[in-house]
């Protein structure tokens, strides 16, 4: 890193943090042509999976595919480092099916680090960021623990759970955002100094155990899919065309190229004895003693929470997940806890198969600061300090996928801002990434935010296979994917449109079209020309034809939605002094600064009559002009 002249020659973009958000942010910025610097407190924990060794799952799997549609790295990185693939919800329709993969944790990290290292526009440096350099409300760069100031046109903050982080193992309390890593105290105070409001969340992680101590005769094997669904779209961008560290022959971890040898997971469950031990030791849990005040996620409760809240359930499911091919470390999914270490072992050993288990890393709870995401605009730039973007867990989200998606958008927009280009805004009608950012910036968070498919109004249109089609128009504004891929996506869209039309219109027997037969589950032969198309195209066409009725309605609703999003609230619009607006509403509106009337209507506490008044005022003002 060349730090001597950054004041005269600032970086375009500095990314603080190299987790899942930071990596995507840095790559997106660099790939869209910005001179980018990524700073991390620890080079060895780049792209680390602090919790379970898996990517994807319901709603998250769809996000990862959308990340690929936007030219992000997570999808391909997962495909390469995965040791098991599984498509979830196969008993349901395509829109709610979700790909998931177990990953080799280390391989995932090493490869991502290597991708960062290989990018010509991107520099990496290990140093702790201790504060922002802010003048007149504009961020000019960052302060670091080496007392070096580094200047940049824009800064992306992706510091995860490291702000004023505290870890709990029973009564034991220590500083740090992850076992073995640091905490960042100065940054919180710095943010608050500039008027950024912070809240406190907590999360937890289960113990890791040694595989050789598991009795696999008592657990049930969970195999991956024979024909895995990958995350990246290789039909429009082949493996060879992707940025590929492996091609440089510098990659030292040999990743398994034999796709058939996936690694199974194991399933077991807690017992009455487990519940007893936990119940008898609740008073030692910092969660129950009230030591931890932060709010935890309801969808990912600690084992003590599950046992207290759902007394009638005899047992709770536990999945054992291998952390990689070259390690015997196993992740005990479903057993997150903050109980003291001795209780953890005792309780764990009541689980069938784990009677002699050896814990090699204890379970712990983490409490950390997050910044209210309602202080961000839809580009993820701060409304409080300009030229600073926030992405990832610092915004109150949880999950690698949610973090990566925000990183990608924040990095792109930081880069655009540095280059004087307009911001890329992903609407909620485009996909889960749009829903994510709109929810965060308009509704805010009351618990660590995780994506659910139910959050999306247009879920039926968000089948994972259609991600590239939905995000295609976004690339009018970006240079995140190659022109060649853009053309290929355009061809794909055209082909899908053509074949959907064909199947819906072409009659094959007694006045029945292909579509009619498909919808009534009858057997028939597709035209050979159709059969020879790529799976990606065929599946999308079949989905659109088979569920045409439902999708048509969804599309009509989408049009209505777009209409209400069209009423723009002018940037200089002042909420103060508008007659009839309640004080609480004015406060909310001022802190969120919604872009459109639709955006405003989704702010909790802003009621329909407020929206009505706003509409009248906006129209009134525009008429006066």
């Amino acid at each position: 890193m060349n730090i001597s002249d950054t004041k005269q020659n600032p970086y375009d973009v500095i990314v603080c943090g190299a987790g899942h958000a930071g990596c995507e942010a840095a790559l997106a910025a660099a790939r869209s042509g910005s001179r980018t610097l990524i700073l991390t407190g620890n080079l060895d924990s780049i792209a680390q999976m602090s919790c379970n060794p898996a990517v994807g799952g319901q709603a998250k799997g769809q996000i990862v595919r959308e990340i690929d549609a936007l030219g992000g790295e997570m999808a391909h990185n997962t495909d390469i480092s995965a040791i098991q693939f599984k498509l979830l919800n196969t008993s349901k329709g395509p829109s709610v099916r979700a790909p998931r993969a177990q990953c080799d944790k280390k391989e995932y990290q090493f490869r991502m680090k290597h991708v960062l290292e290989q990018n010509a526009n991107l520099e990496i440096f290990q140093v702790l960021v201790t504060g922002l350099i802010v003048k007149n409300g504009v961020c000019l760069g960052v302060k670091t623990s080496l007392d070096i100031e580094i200047y940049a046109k824009t800064v992306v903050v992706t510091t995860g759970t490291f702000l004023r982080a505290l870890m709990y193992v029973g009564e034991n309390k220590s500083d740090g955002g992850r076992l073995g890593d640091h905490t960042s105290k100065g940054l919180s105070a710095d943010f608050q100094k500039y008027g950024i409001k912070l809240g406190r969340f907590k999360t937890g992680t289960p113990p890791r155990i040694l595989g050789s101590s598991i009795d696999f005769t008592k657990t049930i094997k969970q195999y991956g899919d024979k024909n895995p669904i990958k995350f990246a779209f290789y039909d429009t961008c082949s493996e060879q065309e992707r940025f590929h560290v492996e091609h440089k022959k510098m990659f030292h971890v040999e990743h398994n190229t034999d796709k058939t040898s996936q690694v199974p997971c194991e399933q077991t469950n807690t017992t009455a004895a487990t519940a007893n031990i936990i119940r008898n030791n609740l008073h030692k849990s910092p969660l129950y003693k009230g030591d931890i005040s932060g709010i935890g996620p309801r969808y990912c409760p600690s084992i003590e929470d599950k046992i207290v809240k759902f007394k009638d359930k005899d047992n709770h499911r536990i999945y054992l997940e291998p952390e990689g091919r070259n390690t015997d470390e196993w992740y005990v999914n479903g057993f997150s806890t903050s109980l003291p270490f001795d209780v953890q072992i005792k309780a764990l050993r009541t689980i069938p198969g784990l009677e002699n288990s050896q814990i090699i890393r204890p379970a712990y709870a983490v409490e950390y600061d997050y910044a209210f995401p309602t202080q961000l605009s839809l580009s993820l730039e701060s409304n409080v300090i300009s030229c600073v973007f926030f992405a990832g867990q610092i915004n109150g989200t949880s999950g690698y996928e949610e973090a990566a998606a925000q990183g990608l958008i924040a990095g792109t927009n930081a880069s655009h801002k540095a280059q004087g280009k307009s911001a890329v805004i992903i609407g909620r009608e485009i996909g889960y990434i749009g829903v994510l950012i709109d929810d965060l910036t308009s509704k805010g968070v009351t618990e660590p935010y995780r994506m659910f498919t139910s959050r999306a109004e247009f879920r039926l249109l968000f089948n994972h296979g259609s991600s590239e089609l939905r995000y295609y128009s976004v690339h009018d504004q970006t240079s995140l994917i190659s022109t060649k891929r853009k053309y290929k996506i355009k061809d794909k869209i055209e082909s899908i449109r053509k074949w959907t039309y064909f199947l819906n219109r072409t009659k094959i027997e007694s006045n029945k079209t292909f579509g009619d037969l498909l919808r009534s589950d009858q057997k028939f032969d597709f035209p050979t020309e159709f059969s020879s198309l790529s799976n990606e195209i065929k599946e999308e066409v079949m989905y659109q034809v088979k569920y045409a009725g439902y999708l048509k309605r969804e599309l009509q609703n989408l049009e209505k939605f777009k209409h209400s999003e069209k009423i723009i609230i002018p940037q200089d619009f002042s909420y103060d002094g508008i007659p009839g607006l309640r004080k609480e509403s004015i406060e909310k509106l001022n802190s969120v600064s919604p872009n459109t009337l639709g955006h405003a209507s989704r702010i909790p506490g802003v009621n329909p009559s407020d929206v009505e008044i706003l509409m009248i005022m906006i129209q009134g003002k525009s008429i006066r002009k």
Binding site: Y299, H316, F452, Y547, Y550, L581
Partner: protein, 463 residues
């Protein structure tokens, strides 16, 4: 937002609006309401009150723009933020002469006000954040509802009877949505058996509940209740004769002798949209014995319960003013028609000075069919205009509310069909959301967070 959007384009909140708040007819007093930025200017220029004290009755003169005194009025000023519309408001109470109120209104238009659209005062109150949609509608109903019971119901609605009911239904739909969403969003969790059958049953229950609410709405409009109409008056005035004429058959005994009717008879008939139960009574006269006293008591009770009292006086006979007073005491605050019977006979006493002269008056002769038809029309008109409303939910459901309920129920029916067809439960969710959304138009919104609250409290999520 959704409902008022279209109208709002035509409604600009910067205008000062005026309207006559009392019926446009001859009455003791007329009230004119003014709301908007011009209110204070009018107070100063038309009413001659420079700095009106809020909520104080100023006795003053209303002068036209040509400086001509139009009427002596009472003016009350309600300041911004504390008035019904939350804008500066004036209430002018003048004499209830239609010609006069018309003159004042047109003068106000000359001064730059405009006539309010129907419901615009309420709309402004709503748009200024004074009331929510249900409240606004209940208030609109309040204005329309003129009789006591309807007022009572509308008041209950303000307290949130309907709101409560609909909120309950919303939560029940949300709970079913959460039963579906849990299995979509947490495929790897151990959630127990699928609940599709259970969901269908619950949705059917919700649908029937909505249907009942919709029925209430329908019934209110056609007055399902049988309305009580009572014939009273001195003996031998022709009550029974009129009774028979109205019901169309000779049911009551008619006799030239006074005191013929001893038993109380009644008869149900349909008059257009409404059903009435007509009661004939014994004539009211100075009490001579206990039996008669009991009869008069009974008449008294009937009058108390009546939706409408028909007071009959024989115009061809002189009456002691004593009876007049006795009856007026009994029908105090009741809805009445004052019938002058035997209009074919020569008039003996001028009843225009009677205490009944303020009531609707009808001259009737049983030999003149036209006069009977005209009486029946008047009965119908009065009952339709001002009827009592009762229903099992103790709430009123207006047209817009019931259309939201109907839409909501249709959406639930669609979602049930999709679940039964087993196309995939995710396809039923848009309709469930639609059902909730339609109810959101009637009460405050429920959203995704409310659904998650229910989901996480019912399912053990987190493998």
């Amino acid at each position: 937002m959704k409902i008022l959007t279209e109208e709002a384009n035509s409604l600009t909140m910067t205008d000062t609006i005026v309207a006559l708040a009392t019926p446009h007819s001859q009455s003791a007093l007329g009230i004119i309401r003014i709301s908007g930025i011009k209110a204070l200017k009018i107070s100063k220029e038309a009413c001659g009150v420079l700095c009106p004290t809020p909520r104080y009755a100023h006795l003053t003169k209303y002068k036209s723009i040509e400086n001509e005194v139009l009427d002596q009025i009472i003016m009350v000023y309600y300041e911004k933020g504390k008035s019904f519309t939350s804008e500066n408001c004036l209430e002018l109470t003048c004499h209830g002469n239609p010609f006069l109120t018309e003159q004042i209104l047109s003068d106000l238009l000359n001064r730059g006000c405009r006539l309010a659209n129907p419901g615009e005062f309420t709309y402004r109150a709503f748009a200024n954040g004074k009331i929510d949609l249900t409240q606004a509608e209940a208030i609109a109903d309040l204005i329309g509802a003129k009789n006591k019971q309807a007022l009572m119901l509308a008041n209950k609605n303000l307290d949130g009877n309907l709101t409560k009911k609909i909120r309950q239904i919303q939560s029940r739909i949300l709970a079913q949505q959460s039963n579906i969403e849990a299995f979509i969003d947490f495929p790897e969790d151990d959630l127990g058996d699928k609940k599709d059958g259970q969901v269908i049953n619950a949705l059917n229950d919700i649908s029937s509940e909505l249907k009942r609410l919709i029925e209430v709405g329908k019934k209110i409009n056609v007055f399902n209740r049988c309305l009580k109409v009572v014939l009273v008056g001195p003996p031998n005035v022709g009550k029974s004769s009129i009774f028979n004429k109205i019901i169309g058959i000779d049911r009551a005994i008619v006799n030239p002798e006074a005191g013929t009717t001893r038993d109380f008879i009644d008869y149900k008939i349909n008059l257009g949209k409404i059903t009435i139960q007509l009661h004939d009574t014994a004539g009211i006269r100075p009490v001579e014995n206990q039996i008669e006293e009991a009869g008069i008591k009974k008449t008294h009770i009937l009058i108390q319960d009546a939706d409408l009292t028909l007071i009959v006086f024989d115009r061809s006979m002189p009456y002691p003013s004593k009876i007049d007073k006795e009856i007026i005491l009994k029908v105090k605050n009741k809805k009445c028609i004052f019938i002058l019977s035997k209009s074919d006979l020569p008039r003996v006493v001028d009843l225009s000075e009677s205490s009944f002269r303020n009531y609707k008056t009808k001259m009737v002769s049983i030999d003149d069919n036209k006069s009977i038809v005209s009486l029946i029309n008047l009965i119908q008109e009065l009952l339709l205009k001002e009827s009592t409303i009762e229903n099992e939910f103790n709430m009123s459901v207006n047209l817009r509310q019931s259309s939201a309920l109907i839409k909501s129920r249709d959406a639930i029916q669609r979602s049930i069909k999709i679940l039964e067809d087993k196309d995939g439960s995710e396809f039923s969710v848009p309709d469930l959301k639609d059902a909730i959304l339609n109810l959101n138009y009637v009460v405050e919104k429920k959203d995704h967070e409310d659904m998650l609250d229910i989901l996480f409290s019912n399912f053990c999520i987190g493998k």
